[in-house]
């Protein structure tokens, strides 16, 4: 009898707590701590060094929420565009190219404009099962030669996924990897290399 009374008390209490949890909304920022460097040998190294100016990136995402569920939203780092631009500058430099500021006296050979249109994280089937957690980054890069000839525009989409189970990389590590994969695809892109050779 006493147990039954306790059960009758427990159920409304649990429902009440659940309503509170459901009713609240929490926003978490996924801060980017450190982006590792790409360790690749791109065909860019075989080309004579060119000078690039990389303009501030623009954001064309519908919103900054990376992932949300049951009142919990994860938004991207406010410095995302700045960090992504810096990664591109660093990686181009590592491939033997020269990146200068717009204010520099050097006249650049090319100007690069970047548009971030995807930065997302998703869990399909949950980590508890044999599902996959996937990070995706979409970056549109436009390279304009300073001599006024035709420009080069292409979308680069990097992804990184892990299969179910506990442990493994965090969401931000996966997003960093996806970002690096998008930039790597740009540095290895035969069409881009050909464009540089011709222009």
């Amino acid at each position: 009898m006493r147990q039954r009374t306790l059960l009758y008390l427990q159920i409304p209490l649990a429902v009440f707590l659940s309503i509170i949890i459901h009713g609240c909304s929490f926003t978490h920022t996924l801060k980017i701590s450190e982006v590792p460097s790409l360790q690749i040998n791109s065909p860019l190294r075989e080309l004579p060094s060119k000078t690039f100016v990389i303009n501030e990136f623009t954001d064309k995402r519908v919103n900054t929420v990376i992932f949300s569920d049951t009142g919990h939203s994860f938004v991207s780092d406010p410095n995302l565009l700045r960090i992504m631009r810096k990664v591109l500058i660093d990686e181009l430099s590592r491939q033997g190219q020269t990146c200068v500021n717009q204010v520099s006296k050097d006249i650049p050979d090319y100007i690069i404009e970047g548009v971030v249109y995807k930065y997302s994280f998703g869990i399909g089937g949950a980590k508890f099962t044999r599902g996959r957690a996937t990070a995706e980054v979409g970056l549109r890069l436009t390279v304009s030669p300073n001599n006024g000839s035709e420009r080069f525009t292409k979308d680069y989409e990097g992804s990184f996924f892990v299969k179910g189970g506990f442990g493994g990389p965090t969401a931000i590590e996966m997003l960093n990897q996806a970002m690096l994969n998008a930039i790597r695809d740009f540095l290895l892109d035969k069409e881009f290399i050909e464009f540089l050779r011709k222009s």
Binding site: A14, L30, Q39, I40, T134, E136, Q177, R184
Partner: protein, 229 residues
Amino acid sequence: MQKICAFLIKPLFVGGLISLLTISCSSVPKQINLKRTSISQIRSIVVTVKIPNPKVIHERMVSDIPPTGVPLVHLIDSAISLSKDETHSESARNAIDVMDLKNILGNHFVENIRHANLFNEIVYFPNQPDDNRKQFFREKYYAVLEIDIRDLSFVRTGDGNLCLYIDIRGTMIKQDDKEILWSRQETIRSKETYTLAFVTTYSDELRKVFYQTFQSLAERLAADFLYLE
């Protein structure tokens, strides 16, 4: 009661999810770069490729909460879905020539690293070596470079179509002391999605998809491989 359980479990699940998003036990697998000092000793390498049979995950529910409620119903549902997916995977296995995929990947990779002229001899060996072959490799080649595809799956996405997921590891191991000279992981999720019929009936179009994907994978791996410390 079933609904109440689901209602209560979801916040707990999301709480767990938050910890998964922010706390990690390990990070992205460590990469080992090829060292310039090692290169001088390596004269010849053999490249092998391992590819599993492709899987199709179409029927199994892609739900973000663990099953709750009446276990028997879920068990029956899961068994039916599993059985259907097994049939789809079987069709995909019959339709896709795994040896063809191995050759696309192996040949493109070898072609890409040959240009660098790092070694006197690079041999691509398509089959898994048996004991005799392993002994032969030990005597003739300095290192074995294995490209191991650990996951090759078509997984259902939100639009009901299938997306191609590939998880690949590249490792080069010295024959004498089994030292790992190079190690990388790559994952690819296709931008495009494909219908179930497209995946389970091997067509020239599907081969083109694999050809382009594996060519790009081979180029990425080769670019990683040729980065010398």
